[in-house]
Amino acid sequence: MKRIAVLLVALLVFGAVKLPMERAITDAHRAAYFRGAKLDLTLREQIGQGAFVAALSGFRGVIADILTIQAFTAWENTQWSRVIFLYNQITTLQPRVIMHWETAAGYTASDASVAALEDPKQPRQALRVKASRDFIQQGREFLERGIRNNPDRYVLFNKLGALLAQKTEDHYAAYEAFSKAAEFPDCMGYEKRFAAYELSRCPGREAQAYALLLKLYRMGASQHTPMLLGRIAAMEEKLDIPSDQRVCNQHGSPQ
């Protein structure tokens, strides 16, 4: 008994020694985007005790995958509320898996919103449009939450820009999202152009957009996509640029 008592004291002393080291490494992990999953009682209520314990024990990924398969089934059955419910849990468990945020946004902002718009059970169009917009907003929230958890990656900025560009009228927000994506050295390369396109669709920002488009144009032939040339032409038209100073003609061809 005496030896066990001494052992417990030794463990306690070791505990005091290891405490600052554990804290330091935990903080370093968090700064490097590890262990960002918030495993709290809300999640425990949603996924159940067994799954919560498993998630705590290092099986977050597996639990998230199981929920993903369930979400896939819910998507197949067009159970949109359940899809959103499950993806809230999935993204909480695996906040650093970009694919989950993308899929959640895609299911809600694309599939669910179109389904809501065409819902045969809803005779009133206004309500169908509202439901569709709610799903689009839900998709946007998924991407914004995803960005908060993954500020070091360009992909979700890209996806947010695309969603805002295609599904909303918030072109300035789309421009900001694409611009953020373009700041990453490993981005796809087209984000700067897409940012410029979106800016060109913002009323009152034509001059700023034109400057941006010209800057891209001057980067070389690789940037001379039909869309870029077309937007330059449109801006030159809107800004009434003298024809001898125009870069593109009305048809969007270089002069």
Partner: protein, 293 residues
């Protein structure tokens, strides 16, 4: 004929370590690797209905999760019965009756388990990489066939995208962290077995430590935060101090998500793991040193 007695003999330690490993091999513990391979292959077939990116994600999560469970289980089960069995069958008497210090005996036993865990981890990693590679090649072939792509640049991009979702070397630190978690449990289980009355007690306590150890960072956070009753603070403090922080070694989930860990941070993490092992090992020796056999 006999050499002068050495205070510490690596040869004696390696004889005991080799014997421990041989015992585990002949107990056919490595057959579990077959189960691991079957789980992986089964999982890869079961998920055929999912899109490739998700299939790879699931495969990686399931593989690393299975690896984590198997290595931990192996560590606990192999170590829990080591000491009690040697004492009960009196093989320990014949060993300690030779010029073998008790610390060499324990060190040899522990090293044998560590080597067994390392072999298991490497083999599981190889099976994992092989199955992933097979799926990768299948996915590339399907993608090229589906899109009827002939452009070399497009082919290269598809191949690059698929490979980025499958095996990358950044997974290796996650696997090493899994190994260290198991090794910590081997040392901890050995410590518990030095005073436990039965191997069942040892296993139950090890399982309890496993579960509570994953709550350690949460307990630490709440203990050091403001608010809460003194009783709660005491309880949380005891958990934070007594139990190892096992979440430090749960890197695989985030690594699979694409988070690569910097070498310096990884070495710090592994260094703390080595400290846990050293302390638990030393405490096990201290408990065993004057144990009446």
């Amino acid at each position: 004929m006999q050499p002068r007695h050495q205070f510490f003999s690596p040869a004696r330690v390696s004889a005991i370590a080799g014997n421990t490993l041989l015992e585990l091999v002949r107990q056919k513990v490595f057959y579990f690797l077959l189960i691991f391979a079957l789980v992986l292959i089964g999982a890869s077939f079961f998920m055929g209905f999912l899109r490739p990116e998700l299939q790879f994600q699931v495969m990686k999560d399931v593989s690393l999760g299975a690896m984590s469970v198997f290595t931990w289980l192996l560590a606990v089960l192999a170590t829990a019965m080591m000491l009690p069995k040697d004492i009960e069958e009196r093989t320990l008497y014949t060993i300690l009756a030779k010029p073998v210090p008790r610390f060499e005996y324990l060190l040899g036993k522990l090293l044998g388990v560590f080597v067994m865990l390392a072999i298991s981890t490497v083999v599981m990693g190889a099976i994992f990489a092989a199955v992933l590679y097979a799926k990768e090649q299948l996915a590339i072939a399907e993608a090229l066939q589906e899109g009827k792509i002939t452009d070399p640049a497009q082919i290269a991009e598809i191949v690059r995208n698929v490979k980025a979702s499958t095996f990358t070397w950044s997974l290796v630190p996650g696997v090493i962290a899994i190994y260290f978690k198991a090794a910590i449990f081997a040392a901890l289980t050995l410590l518990i077995s030095t005073f436990a009355s039965s191997w069942i007690f040892t296993i139950v306590v090890s399982v309890a430590v496993y579960l509570i150890g994953h709550l350690t960072p949460i307990a630490r956070e709440y203990w050091l935060a403001d608010g809460g009753t003194w009783l709660a603070k005491v309880g949380l403090a005891l958990i934070a101090l007594f139990f190892p922080d096992l979440q430090l070694f749960n890197l695989a989930d985030d690594i699979v998500a694409g988070n690569a860990i910097a070498l310096g941070l990884f070495l710090h993490t592994v260094g703390l793991g080595c400290l846990y092992i050293a302390v638990y090992g030393c405490l096990a020796y201290w408990m065993f040193a004057n144990k009446e056999l």
